[in-house]
């Protein structure tokens, strides 16, 4: 129950409870001896009943009873009356135990087990539940069990929905009732049950929760439900392709120099990445679900790989490396049209089980040019100069940046209307200056931006950023959450239009005019909107507050990355960079790597050296094992990178020892901390 002070026991009460404990222990030892000797006589069972009446938490006793029931049933299966009486007896014991402790996990579980045996009637269960739920309307055990019974009896979900409404009506702080409502609605909406079309039902639910929130802004349950509704409004079930590289209608130049390929590669076989970016994690992207029509050679054996830090087969980002032969002499540039068709045959399924059902295709032009093979100069990338401002209006920018989301086909009308209404309404909330009021408006504005990218201009982002700034000042406990949201909004703002994006875009003249995005000094704490930045080759994120590189794995064209002056605390935080096959230059100087000796991610695997990926023999050939053991997290990240230039200075870890270790792990390295390693 709620709001009851803990009772302080008097000495005599303590004495009484000690006596009770002695009695209980003797009962328990008797019971355990029965259990061990598999005695299932009536007396033995009665003994366990007594035990459970005193202590419903005695799990062993519940298990013993299960064995006893199984034992009886195995002998009496033929007599349905007897079976029923045995099970009814179990239900009775559970009921009296629950009266002793209504929150006993063991008792509720035993009841479920008895019911799952069938035979007994379930009609009684709702009566019992009503009794318990009247006693304590917020008992989550009872609510949990209620869902179980409803499932078992096929009781109408509509009736259950009405029940939640009734319970909410009695007490709007009943989180269990709100939660059950969301569970029921999810299932009804998913089934598209009669009268449960999202476009109609979700606005109705908004109305209900408005009544709760406006009646009492301090009711947390209502705000949680509102957040759930917002999620239902924004998230479309079917996965959508939101971005690709190369973008639709673009013209890309394929030349060795432009791709910053490794100079040591003697093969003329060259690859470039094809990236698909979905709005949610999907699986099943393969050459059978993604068809490519082109005269370009080398597309037959296309392998699609999920780009994800987790070793799973689902991901938002999928990449395939398109190979093309440039062996045949070709003095004139040749153009090939490439058409990518996605979802024409089924197989792409979201992690929640929804099919990618809206086929989509995009076309780009690949211009293959065999440029004169310049010996790549082993220059150091300085990040300080050599950047040329890029004219936003120039055609080649528009060519690379496709800021329109690819979701045009979906019907977002009711969702947009719902969000617009929410924004108008919550602006009128008398306490819209409260933390939750500000946060809700910020979230709603963000949702609006997500769904109508082209209509929302900077004004909204300015407001969102201001709201999160206010919140950081108001509520220091959740500072980091607000900071992250602020970063997301800021990046969304930057990527919302070609104009705003071009303010951060440069050409890096020292490296074949690579496209460089500079977001330094932006106080970013996390990375977002990567789907709009797939074309970026150089990324300057220095002087921010980043803790991790998560999200950057999608930027498959990235060759230079500056993360200096951030808050990276370990090499594990750079894990996502392992997916960037073209990354050559990495600056992680002036971070906090090695500062904190306890790296929590270590605990994810019991011993990194027992990891199957790692073989002592293989390592032993090339490098000092003691250093591998010491710097194992650096090893796991760096060994997958073909870096030419690494800056690690200004971290605690960066000592002489580490500097001697790095070239062992990264044999391709030319520049370390600004010094040339080999001539």
């Amino acid at each position: 129950m709620h709001g009851r002070p803990r009772k302080v026991y008097k000495p005599e009460e303590e004495a009484a409870s000690a006596a009770k404990a002695v009695k209980f222990r003797s009962l328990q030892s008797q019971f355990l001896s029965n259990h061990h000797n598999k005695i299932y006589t009536k007396e033995a069972i009665d003994l366990s009943t007594k035990l459970l009446e005193i202590n419903p938490e005695a799990y062993t006793a519940w298990n013993y009873r299960k064995l006893a029931v199984e034992d009886t049933l195995s002998r009496q299966e033929s007599d349905p009356d007897l079976v029923k009486s045995v099970l009814d007896e179990e239900l009775k014991v559970v009921e009296s135990s629950l009266k002793q402790n209504v929150k006993s996990y063991g008792a509720w579980h035993h009841r479920k087990w008895v019911l799952s045996k069938g035979h007994s009637s379930v009609g009684n269960e709702l009566r019992l539940l009503n009794e318990f739920q009247t006693l304590d309307s917020r008992n989550f055990h009872a609510w949990n069990y209620r869902r179980f019974v409803v499932e078992l009896t096929n009781r109408s979900k509509h009736d259950e929905l009405k029940y939640t409404e009734f319970m909410i009506g009695n007490n709007i702080s009943n989180y269990s009732a709100w939660h059950n409502r969301s569970v029921l609605l999810s299932s009804l909406l998913e089934r598209k049950a009669d009268g449960f079309m999202p476009s109609q039902k979700i606005p109705e639910e908004y109305e209900l929760v408005h009544n709760a929130i406006f009646t009492d802004e301090d009711v947390q349950s209502g705000w949680f439900y509102h957040l759930w509704l917002l999620d239902q409004t924004v998230n479309v079930e079917t996965p959508l392709l939101i971005s690709s590289w190369p973008p639709h209608g673009s013209r890309i130049n394929l030349s060795r120099a432009g791709c910053l390929n490794d100079s040591s590669s003697s093969s003329k076989l060259t690859t470039f990445p094809l990236i698909l970016y979905f709005d949610q994690a999907v699986g099943g992207v393969s050459s059978s679900t993604v068809a490519i029509d082109s005269e370009l050679k080398g597309i037959e054996d296309l392998v699609w790989e999920p780009v994800s830090n987790k070793n799973s087969q689902v991901s938002c980002v999928w990449v395939a490396r398109l190979k093309y032969m440039s062996s045949e002499p070709c003095f004139f540039p040749k153009e090939y049209k490439v058409k990518v068709r996605i979802g024409n045959s089924p197989g792409i399924v979201s992690s929640r089980g929804f099919n990618f059902s809206v086929p989509y295709e995009f076309v780009f032009t690949a211009r293959v040019e065999d440029t004169v093979q310049e010996e790549p100069r082993e220059v150091i990338v300085s990040w300080t100069d050599g950047f040329d401002i890029w004219d936003a209006q120039s055609e080649d920018l528009k060519n690379l940046v496709n800021l329109d989301q690819l979701n045009g086909q979906m019907d977002f009308k009711w969702r947009q209307e719902a969000i617009a209404e929410e924004i108008d309404l919550f602006r009128t909330l008398p306490d819209s200056n409260s933390k939750i009021g500000k946060l809700t408006i910020a979230r709603l504005l963000m949702a609006k931006a997500t769904m109508s990218e082209n209509d929302v201009k900077g004004v909204h982002y300015e407001e969102i950023l201001k709201l999160y700034n206010d919140l950081m000042a108001l509520d220091s406990t959740h500072y980091h959450y607000y900071k992250d949201e602020h970063s997301v909004a800021l990046l969304r703002k930057v990527t919302s239009s070609t104009e705003s994006l071009s303010r951060h875009l440069f050409r890096y003249s020292d490296m074949n005019n690579s496209v460089c995005l500079r977001l330094n000094n932006s106080s970013l704490s996390r990375i977002a909107s990567v789907e709009k930045l797939l074309f970026v080759q150089m990324l300057d994120l220095s002087h921010n507050e980043l803790h991790s590189t998560e999200g950057l794995e999608a930027m498959q064209l990235l060759s230079c990355l500056n993360l200096s002056h951030n808050r990276i605390r370990s090499f594990s935080a750079l894990d996502s960079l392992r997916h960037l096959k073209q990354l050559r230059v990495l600056d992680v100087s002036h971070n906090h790597i090695g500062e904190h000796s306890v790296d929590t991610t270590r605990y994810l695997c019991s011993s990194p050296l027992s990891n199957s990926e790692w073989s002592q023999d293989e390592v032993g050939r090339r490098m000092t094992p003691s250093l591998v053991t010491k710097y194992w997290d650096a090893y796991f990240v760096l060994r997958d990178l073909n870096l030419k230039q690494l800056d690690i200075a200004g971290n605690v870890v960066a000592g002489e020892e580490f500097s001697s270790f790095v070239p062992q792990v990264v044999p391709t390295l030319v520049w370390l901390n600004g010094h040339k390693l080999r001539s």
Binding site: N170, N171, I172, N211, F214, T215, L425, P430
Partner: protein, 560 residues
């Protein structure tokens, strides 16, 4: 009263206190005085308990109203011939408390049919309910008289008279505000905020620790008119009206200082809200703030009488007193002469509010004697001391699916000249006040004069029930708003205007209060407690009766 059955003479003949009339305040005083060890004789001229607070069958109610509204009966028969020369005898007369009594039967079976006629327990003092946190409930718990009464919840309360004609339920709790269909989101927010301010204020006021951060209502606000405070809290008129008349249960239009007389101060308003708020949830088996005794309000005085009887108080019903006995020399009160002629003596006397000294008897008294009987001299009645009451027996309910409900029509809500709030209480057979297919509807409003009060009640009746034109009677022409509406039909109706008399302490002779114009007994209980203190001294009422722990266990017996 001439047909008194022969009655054995009373013994003993001397008491500490004689009380005549078994109304609520007389019964509380009888129970309190007997509990504190005084010898008490409690008389009532009527054959039932409760006097003006009684619950009666329809014929008895009719008889009682008529007999108490006739012009005072001729002076009682001269004192018996064996006039004791020791005392001066002052004849008493009954003044009529009721006027303009008008009783109409629309369906005669209600009186004739044996099944019905005796199954009514109709209150004389209706509409009346108790708040769970009322002082009267506390007093019942303290005295133990709660053992003799059972209560049930009043299911709902409504405010009527808005433009839609709908009865709006009173949003009196967070859950009720949430469920309310007629309030806008902003209104819900403002109302709940207002409740929170009041609750925070009450919590701060009741806590012993001084919490600097606690939000309280400023002293300045507490002294300002309640309506101004409500306006300061940005409450729109519709919600103000719900709070003033549906929760604080005020009578007069608070927006009109002229007709209202004195405006309610914020601190009084907050006290009224506190009563309402603390009433909700006081007893786990009571749904809302209001409860009603099964078998009618007459059970309340009866319960105190039973308690008094247990403590040794002697009861004689059907026993009027005819005269006061004063000391010839000093003019002091000595005793009373019963209708049987027996003379009974006591230190103190408390009389029913309708017992007075006839003017002709007054003329012959000395100043000293006049001083003794001063509280019995009828005073000029000021205009605001009347309440118009109505009782309707109706078939079906004024609101579907609700049996026991309170409806309040704020001032001016029914018609522009409506001076005061009209309160309507519907009770069903679940409270054992009427047969199963019917409801009793009580109405009241305070008024300046009989016509005004009755007109207001008729207006409320016409909005709630279908008028029936009686066969032989010329009824007022009542225009039905919407004939299609399924309004209940009226079977029987009583309209009367009651004079409001406040109890008064007069030394040896005091008078008790008549029913007042309020919904609960708080004013009556308050004046009874004051009278007790003046009579007996500073002693606390029922102080030794119960320990606080028992009190909690007892609760109000409340079945639902």
């Amino acid at each position: 009263m001439g047909d008194l059955p022969p009655y054995p003479p009373l013994d003993p003949t001397t008491y500490d206190l004689i009380i005549v009339g078994t109304g609520v305040s007389e019964s509380i005083l009888a129970a309190a005085a007997s509990s504190s060890g005084s010898s008490v004789l409690h008389l009532d001229p009527n054959p039932f308990y409760g006097s003006h607070f009684a619950s009666l069958s329809l014929p008895d109610l009719t008889t009682f109203l008529h007999s108490n509204s006739l012009p005072p009966p001729p002076p009682p028969p001269p004192p018996p011939s064996h006039d004791p020369s020791d005392f001066l005898s002052v004849d008493l007369v009954n003044r009529s408390l009721y006027s303009s009594v008008e009783i109409t039967t629309f369906e005669s079976s209600i009186l004739d049919d044996e099944r019905y006629s005796r199954r009514f327990n109709v209150d004389l003092c209706g509409p009346r309910v108790l708040f769970c946190a009322d002082e009267s409930i506390n007093l019942m718990l303290k005295s133990g008289s709660n053992n003799y009464v059972e209560f049930k919840s009043v299911d709902a309360s409504f405010v009527g008279g808005d433009s839609s004609g709908e009865l709006r339920s009173v949003p009196d709790s967070r859950a009720a505000i949430f469920r309310d269909k007629s309030l806008g989101l902003q209104e819900k927010n403002l109302l709940m905020k207002f409740f929170k301010v009041v609750q925070a204020h009450l919590a701060a006021a009741s806590s012993t620790e001084i919490d600097e951060t606690a939000v309280t209502i400023t002293d300045e606000d507490m002294e300002s008119p309640f309506v101004e405070f409500l306006a300061k809290m940005c409450l729109p008129p519709k919600i103000k009206s719900i709070i003033l008349y549906g929760i604080a249960m005020l009578d007069y239009d608070q927006d009109n200082a002229e007709t209202c007389g004195n405006l309610l101060k914020t601190k009084e308003g907050v006290a009224r809200l506190a009563l309402y708020i603390t009433s909700i949830g006081r007893f786990s088996n009571a749904l809302g703030a209001l409860i009603y005794p099964i078998y009618g309000q007459g059970e309340i005085p009866q319960a105190f009488c039973r308690r008094a009887a247990v403590k040794g108080c002697i009861y004689v019903l059907r026993m009027p007193i005819t005269a006061l006995l004063l000391d010839k020399e000093t003019g002091d009160y000595k005793g009373v002469r019963l209708a049987t002629g027996q003379e009974i003596f006591s230190q103190k006397l408390i009389l029913d509010p309708c017992i007075t000294v006839g003017l002709e008897s007054m003329s012959s008294l000395t100043d000293q004697q006049k001083e003794t009987v001063r509280v019995l001299v009828p005073k000029a009645i000021s205009s605001k001391e009347r309440v118009a009451r109505g009782i309707c027996i109706i078939r079906s309910s004024v609101k579907a699916d609700v049996s026991n409900a309170l409806v309040v029509y704020p001032p001016k809500s029914l018609f522009p000249e409506q001076l005061a709030a009209i309160r309507v209480l519907q009770l069903g057979s679940g409270l054992a006040v009427c047969p199963a297919d019917m409801h009793v509807l009580y109405l009241s409003t305070v008024c300046d004069n009989d016509d005004q009060g009755k007109a207001a009640l008729l207006s409320a009746m016409s909005t709630l029930i279908k008028p029936q034109v009686p066969e032989n009677l010329q009824s007022e022409s009542v225009v039905e708003n919407d004939p299609a509406e399924a309004k209940p039909t009226v079977l029987w109706r009583a309209l009367y205007v009651q004079e409001l008399v406040k109890g008064e302490f007069g030394g040896s002779i005091s008078s008790a209060s008549s029913p007042d114009g309020n919904l609960n007994y708080n004013e009556i209980v308050k004046s009874a407690v004051e009278l007790y203190e003046q009579l007996i001294g500073g002693e606390e009422l029922f102080k030794e009766e119960k320990t606080p722990e028992e009190e909690n266990d007892a609760g109000a017996e409340n079945e639902d």
